[in-house]
Symmetry: D2
């Protein structure tokens, strides 16, 4: 089969990489369509990395400057327009998209309107911002669904997707996680992405100030969504005041290094979705800050702050939790590849509604 894989950023590639490897090893033809920040040099041009990993890559430039709602709207339109052109030319058997980014929604629309058979990973989840609406809109356009958890599957059924179109194989990011060997590191990992609430950053910094020493704090620089500038300023001010040794700021980590770090630290603090998703596989104690991941399903290792400092102390005392298979058991990609080979290509969707009675019309002759 010829399968087109839509990659909109580095995280997309991280999660779909195991899937791509399995599909390729089973002799399917793959074409990666890279867009969004995956083709921007200030985000390290992931498209080139994918090429180096041996995949055929097509590029779509669709990102408007501005980090504003208008910029996002225009980017969806550009993504849609160019994905539609590429899909028609390639005519793949399946198109795969993941998640809820606006570029992915553009790709999903382009696929649905040009008659592709669309497979969507990570539908049925719940979170804030416009991504919440985008995710569910993609679900309504998609022909097959690969939810990460049982609960996500249940939601897809609620949203009128037929059970036969839901491939319940787990989240492929667990496959990458499985290959990581955790160590014991006396470290705390912080990842905090912009969410419109600088006060939360100050809470984390205050917790650092209050906490007894002995632990190394590693703070990963936030992504460049709207609001990143303000966080940057706050961190720079803090760094100037307290010196370098106190917190180690890092700007970039390879996916595998990142997972190893997440697997090995004594506590992870912040609002990254990987703290909910990937940490469950390792049982890393997590302190979730703010509302950015509100509604996302998590395992027993995750604690919602509240008081950030107290949460961290609680999690340090508790230590590592038992690993959870909530987001997959590490053998997801192969199951997915087999499942995809077993389903049929189709385009006309008919939504499935629980029985609401039939129309009392004049019947049929």
């Amino acid at each position: 089969m010829h399968i087109a894989i839509v990659i909109c950023d580095r995280a997309n590639y991280g999660r779909l990489q195991p899937v791509m490897q399995h599909l390729k090893s089973r002799d399917h033809e793959l074409t990666v369509i890279a867009s969004g920040s995956a083709v921007l040099s200030r985000f390290k041009y992931v498209a080139d990395d994918i090429r180096e990993d041996g995949y055929r890559v097509e590029e779509i430039l669709c990102s408007f400057e501005g980090s504003t709602p208008q910029a996002m709207a225009q980017s969806v339109a550009a993504s849609l327009s160019h994905h539609a052109a590429v899909f028609e030319r390639l005519a793949p058997d399946f198109v795969i998209v993941i998640g809820d980014r606006h570029e992915a929604l553009g790709a999903a629309l382009g696929a649905a309107y040009t008659g592709q058979c669309l497979v969507h990973f990570q539908g049925g989840e719940s979170s804030g911002t416009i991504d919440e609406s985008a995710r569910h809109a993609i679900t309504q356009l998609a022909h097959y669904h690969v939810p990460a958890t049982q609960r996500a599957k249940a939601r897809l059924v609620q949203m009128c997707q037929r059970e036969s179109t839901i491939l319940t194989v787990g989240c492929p990011s667990s496959d990458l996680a499985r290959s990581v060997m955790p160590e014991d590191r006396d470290e705390i990992l912080v990842v905090y992405h912009p969410s419109g609430n600088l006060h939360e950053v100050e809470q984390i910094l205050q917790a650092r100030a209050d906490l007894e020493g002995g632990l190394r704090w590693r703070w990963l620089w936030p992504n460049i969504d709207a609001g990143a500038n303000e966080i940057h300023k706050l961190l720079r001010r803090f760094k100037a005041e307290w010196g370098d040794g106190w917190i180690d700021f890092e700007t970039n980590m390879a996916p595998r290094d990142y997972l190893k770090t997440l697997a090995s630290v004594r506590c992870a603090v912040g609002n990254s979705s990987s703290f909910v998703r990937d940490s469950s596989f390792f049982g890393t104690p997590v302190v979730l800050v703010g509302e950015r991941q509100m509604g996302r399903e998590h395992a027993a290792n995750v604690m919602h702050a509240g008081n950030v400092g107290e949460c961290i102390r609680h999690q340090l005392r508790h230590g590592r939790y038992s690993p959870s298979g909530l987001y997959g058991d590490g053998f997801v990609s192969e199951r997915f590849a087999r499942a995809l080979e077993g389903v049929g290509r189709y385009t006309q969707k008919w939504s499935h509604h629980a029985d609401l009675g039939t129309c009392a019309g004049a019947g049929r002759v």
Copy 2:
């Protein structure tokens, strides 16, 4: 309040006209954003009619030539791009869209991504083609819903829309219908839009040939979707063979004249959605041909053919059905206007899932 009304074709305007009149009479400011075939001269430039009716109209050209999937995809992108620009400039309190056309989906996306509060009419229905996916995607983007029937409402709830965001007031097309005074006409009305199955047109023509005389057949020329050319050819051939008097072909009817005709004929034959929706108000006997309206809710007056000729005979024998309030009681627009005044503007959606249990996390401190 300032309300932006998205009008993509003549039918959109027909259904929303009573709503616009009520909103205007209650001193709300309205801006109509006309796009799709509403700004094309070969579709009689509805935008000009709306202006003549006293409304402020902005135009968006977004229709690509070709009547192909690719043309539709590109049109969604153009619709999105330009609606987003217009919405940001106008900054209305509410944006209203109706139905499931691809231009409407573009408008809904433009509204959602630029932070508008979106009101959607006719969600929760069911039909074929890509419109089925588009309709449900719009539902996931919309902040308030105005379903036409109780069943449609139930489906919206199933699709995770909160009940408090569903304004159950009926379908405003009934308001226009209410003002129509039916007559008794010895006529049969045919409307058949392209749906990829020429055999169905032949069935209708055959039924005409078989049927005893005494009734005038009026056949409304189909719309210009993909496939219209083939129907045109068939009808022209038939016309050349059988002469003019046998069937009267008509190319255009004003909305009110059309409704009066639908209300007055002894039987309506074809696949127009108005045969399902508007006919219920009048109880006009309907013979529904083919799958184009499959899944759409209807009242007792509708019969699915089967054998078209036998169905027509059955319906002629039966005569007019009792009127049904299924699609509204003719007082919908005012109820809607009041309801809209009572709800709050918001942007962040949180989908509502029936209780699936909560996460067994480490709790909150």
Copy 3:
């Protein structure tokens, strides 16, 4: 070399076909990028014909509905956006465009901004409508020029193009013409494209009515630019009144059949550019009606009407003119292919201005 050929309509292909054959026979790799009406089925989908002729074709859908200025503007933007994406992916050595259509301008802009080396056929000519501006704008973007005549070349030099970038080989349409064997037919050929002046059509019809018989009139249906509907109506009315035999209306002619007809008739009447360009090769007497071709260079066989009837009588009396090499000698394509092989690829243009003196600055140290 890898050469991308931009084809926006059937006429583009007609003129560039000999060029493509010669480039291919000299082992260059060709990719045709078909857009505009060349990918629309109501214009007989030229892209498919090109494929059948053995070329690799990529398609770009860029035509907005409406035949309005706004539709043209949006089509230029869509053409630009998608040609830019295709050019970057293909990275050809040269891009070839021809003429002055708005889709061609979009392609030229896409080429210039993505750093292609652009070759433009038919620059330096003169005509009405927005095409006049488009043609000269393309000239300013192009890196090499292939003017059809010596006078066109002189204009390009005037417009600050360096002589070394002008390949003066003639117009390749003469190559196709050379292969046509004229006959003597007692026919008059009429081609009249919309130009906003219905009175001119009436003049031609009046001339037909006044003229003594003995000649067959063949009238080629006009193209579908803005204004075509009015002509259609006029012709249909005329046809209904006078009957079929009087004028033979034809809707479509293959390029070679058309050229043969143009070469063989006793007089050609109307405003087609081929009456100026191709007729010169055959010496066919031409009566040019209206201003559509005003300013276009022509040979001795062309007469500007004035009084259409008197002009036709004059041209019938005169008979065939001597063939002219004004628009090429029939061996153009091969000369072009050789010339292109001899020039270098470059991107930075520096316009050449006749000496206007140098700046009296403070010099250089």
Copy 4:
């Protein structure tokens, strides 16, 4: 009259501000259409400044991320698409664009294709990059031209623009300059924009190192075109090594403050176009570095480096030059406003070619 002013960045506004003031004071209605970096917050959102100055402003978001050729091509398309929509809605009497940026070309295309009467400032000049082609393409689309110098006018005539369409009133930036009162400051001003040649920056830094003290060096941070990052790094490294006092880096200056500084320093070093254009009015000694302004007309105060250090020494020895009226006498805007009131609106261009003889056709009857 209603006049639409296209503003793509801060420099556009600086130059057209005096023109806008004069048009407004003469009771013309103005609408500013702000796009490009003029609507981006990381460029300080000039659109808001223009609003505060009392003008009606519409915004167009058209900038793609990436600072690549592809990004520029897509931005032209977006600029075209949205300017065309805005122009049709506003239907102004004249549209004014300035310069050669890609956003301005998009606006010019949108104007030409929707039938506006387009006025272009700063045509007929000469410079490198794709702007060279863009500038001349805009000339071919424009209906009236306002060249900055006599030489630029001569070039426009060469490029087949009719003399009657050229308003030779000078460059309006001189009007702003006239209001500036120069002081004597022991300062050197450096402005160096990215041009692909880091070596030139090093030359300037080396000149600073070699030069005897006593002068304050003020270095204006470069704009954010492709290549800016590399300059930033070089300057930061240099700053870290040599300390703060040695060169004062400044990130932003109000237009009037900038002009006052340019008027008052003992020497200006770098490659800003204002060093060629505005400095002539003051006679400030200029050392022009690199090829970025190659071909641009300048007065006697400008010296091309060569050896940057020697040039600076030469210019410091020479001191201030006599002011030049080359780029206008400071009374340009009023002359322009009067001139515009005296010309007619038209749309169909006919290019003017020096006499190349007439066609020896069959004449006219």
